[in-house]
């Protein structure tokens, strides 16, 4: 008689729970609704947040976390923008001066012009970048074939071009572009290099549809317009050494630029330093907000769902008081009763969680398609979601189960 007697075994508890749930299937479904909606919303929220996070990482990687841009014009913030057109240009001298800073690994101006390229009988309209020799380094963009722009070519404004993969395909249809002559807005140039293929950005822009020439060549021959500053560098791209804090270097750049442009303390800057990582992060906050709202909705729903489970378990315990009394009379220990009702609550949570999982996966796919933002369904999210459903069910099911287990056998048997 003293040997440890095993309790109600799990499969028996499961059978009892499933039978009880099936007997009241509509009621059980309604009870699970909170959990179902909560879990579905949680999955959609997490998937959107993870999708946005993944896109953010991709975008930052695309620009590089240690790349800064200096451009003319006042800040967006402050409400007194004078417009980019009236702003003082940033110049080649600025590029040289910034390169003197210890934190800067490389610097390059960058002018942009829309051009039409002609080669043989073909023509192609694309974006022309007038850049320095280090622009490829700053952009982490290598040469697939041929060579890049040399410092000498950059200085003297050589009539050479480096083209992107898309341009090469359009103009030369797969034949070797190196050494070919092209005309860029009537200026003849020799193709010396083919850029590595980069593909489209995550927002769908073909990065390979581009042509690079020395900045000086673009200024003096291709995009010459009346009144433009001779040494206008367009925008300055800077690469910060990897082991330095970008924000520190950014502050140094701002100080230097203020001195160079004679901006008095307290006066507004007439230039801006753009930190791509910060910029992209700010842009992604919109998507994060949507995720936050959904997460809050999901949490509310789960709590409501948990209370629903508690409520229905209390009803179930009351309805089955005589059954509990009977079970106690034939030998169930109070912890067998506890187990039985906890298992029932758990099964409710598990079924709710699984249905919520199916709805959540469907909802995520729908949201991704309709909202056109990136979503990421990870296995960890799905397993976690079902796990949370079970934890909530056990948490809220514990009180009713404990109440059932504490019933006095004789009172339970006599319950009307």
């Amino acid at each position: 008689m003293n040997a440890e007697r095993p309790g109600l075994n799990l499969s028996a508890s499961l059978a009892i729970a499933l039978k009880a749930i099936r007997t009241n299937s509509i009621r059980s479904l309604l009870t699970m609704l909170g959990i179902i909606i909560g879990i579905a919303a949680a999955i959609v929220a997490v998937s959107i947040a993870q999708g946005a996070g993944k896109q953010l990482t991709e975008q930052i990687e695309q620009f590089g976390t240690h790349v800064l841009q200096v451009r003319p014009g006042t800040s967006f913030f402050g409400g007194r923008s004078r417009g980019a057109g009236s702003a003082r240009a940033v110049t080649d001298d600025d590029v040289e001066a910034l390169l003197e800073l210890d934190g800067i690994e490389a610097a390059s101006g960058r002018a942009l012009a829309g051009v039409t390229l002609v080669a043989g009988g073909r023509n192609w309209t694309t974006s022309l970048f007038g850049v320095g020799a280090d622009f490829g380094l700053i952009q982490d963009w290598g040469i697939a074939q041929g060579r890049g722009i040399t410092p000498g070519e950059a200085r003297r404004g050589a009539k050479i071009a480096v083209i992107g993969k898309t341009v090469a395909n359009e103009l030369f249809e797969g034949s070797d572009p190196i050494g070919q002559r092209i005309r860029i807005n009537r200026t003849p140039a020799t193709v010396v290099g083919l850029l590595e293929e980069k593909g489209a950005t995550s927002w769908g822009q073909d990065q390979d549809d581009t042509v690079w020439m020395p900045l000086e060549t673009v200024r003096s021959r291709v995009a010459r317009s009346a009144g433009s500053v001779v040494d206008d560098a367009g925008r300055i791209y800077l690469k910060v050494w990897d082991d330095l804090d970008v924000l520190d270097v950014q502050a140094e750049i701002e100080d230097l630029m203020r001195v160079r442009r004679n901006i008095q303390p307290g006066a507004d800057d007439d230039f801006r330093v753009i930190n791509f990582a910060e910029f992209i992060r700010a842009r992604n906050e919109t998507e994060s907000l949507l995720g936050f709202l959904l997460a809050a909705f999901s949490a509310t729903s789960l709590i409501v769902g948990g209370i629903g489970i508690m409520n229905i378990m209390l009803v179930s315990v009351t309805e089955r008081t005589r059954e509990i009394g009977l079970r106690r009379a034939v030998g169930a220990r109070s912890r067998d009763v506890l187990t039985q009702f906890l298992v029932e609550a758990t099964v409710l949570g598990l079924i709710g969680g699984l249905v919520g999982l199916a709805l959540g996966v469907g909802g995520t796919m729908l949201a991704g398609r309709l909202g056109e933002f990136p979503v990421l369904l990870s296995p960890a999210t799905l397993i976690g979601a079902v796990g949370i459903a079970v934890v909530i069910a056990v948490f809220f099911g514990y009180y009713p189960a404990r109440r059932a287990s504490r019933l006095d056998p004789i009172d339970a048997l006599r319950f009307e």
Binding site: R5, P6, L326, A329, V330, G331, D408, I410, L413
Partner: protein, 233 residues
């Protein structure tokens, strides 16, 4: 268990219930002994204490004072688990309202006490079928209670009480919900089980039912007023 020891020994049992501000004395100084193999009817009008006495014998309730030995074990010394085990292994209960689980087959109802044992699945099935055979309902084992007559339902309940081979069956008004012909059949079944060695204690307020027992203990106002041996019917 000590040889010659009574199966039940009650010494100065007192049970008080508090009802609001007043105290109801349900049992007052009850002494009784029931030996293994007896067939005892516990009689008395409602409120006499007979049901309270039964609940104590079944370890479903605890006395306010006094000592109760069941199968040589002092009830007061048993914790919740040990009491559950005593009910599971030593006692079998039969109730007036049958207390069968609805939408559950006869054989699964009979298996209920075995759910709380370590027996394997085959042994549980074997014992449940044997118990149903013993009460003459083997061919109805897949029927739900709603598909059985009152007498058949009570037979299923008796099979459930028998299934874990208890030393004693405690029956509380087992024929109270049955017609007299069916009641006679049920009482004959109790008589047979008793003849096979199971101790039977049943609570009833009907003289014809009590006549089936060989001993009759009568309660009134919380005390035993008579305890007589009689010819079994």
């Amino acid at each position: 268990m000590i040889p010659g020891e009574a199966l039940i020994r009650a010494e100065g049992l007192v049970k008080d219930y508090t009802m609001g501000s007043s105290v109801v004395h349900a049992l007052i100084d009850v002494d009784a002994e029931i030996d293994a193999g007896e067939f005892v009817a516990v009689m008395g009008p409602s409120g006499s204490g007979k049901s309270t006495f039964m609940n104590l014998l079944g370890a479903l309730d605890r006395p306010t004072r006094g000592r109760l030995m069941i199968a040589g074990r002092d009830l007061a010394a048993l914790d919740d688990d040990a009491q559950a085990r005593l009910r599971n292994e030593t006692l079998g209960f039969v109730f007036q309202q049958f207390m069968l689980l609805a939408r559950t087959s006869a054989v699964d109802n009979v298996k209920l006490p075995l759910m709380y044992t370590a027996l394997d699945r085959e042994e549980k099935q074997r014992r449940a079928v044997a118990a149903l055979e013993r009460v003459g309902l083997a061919e109805r084992m897949d029927h739900a209670p709603s598909q059985l007559s009152g007498g058949q339902q009570q037979r299923v309940a008796i099979a459930r009480a028998l299934v874990n081979r208890p030393r004693m069956i405690l029956a509380d008004e087992p024929t109270g919900a049955l017609d007299s012909v069916t009641a006679e059949e049920i009482m004959r079944l109790f008589g047979e089980l008793n003849a096979e060695g199971v101790t039977v204690v049943l609570v009833t307020h009907e003289e014809e039912i009590a006549e089936h027992a060989r001993r009759c203990i009568r309660f009134r106002d919380g005390r035993i007023i008579s305890d007589e041996w009689q010819e079994a019917a």
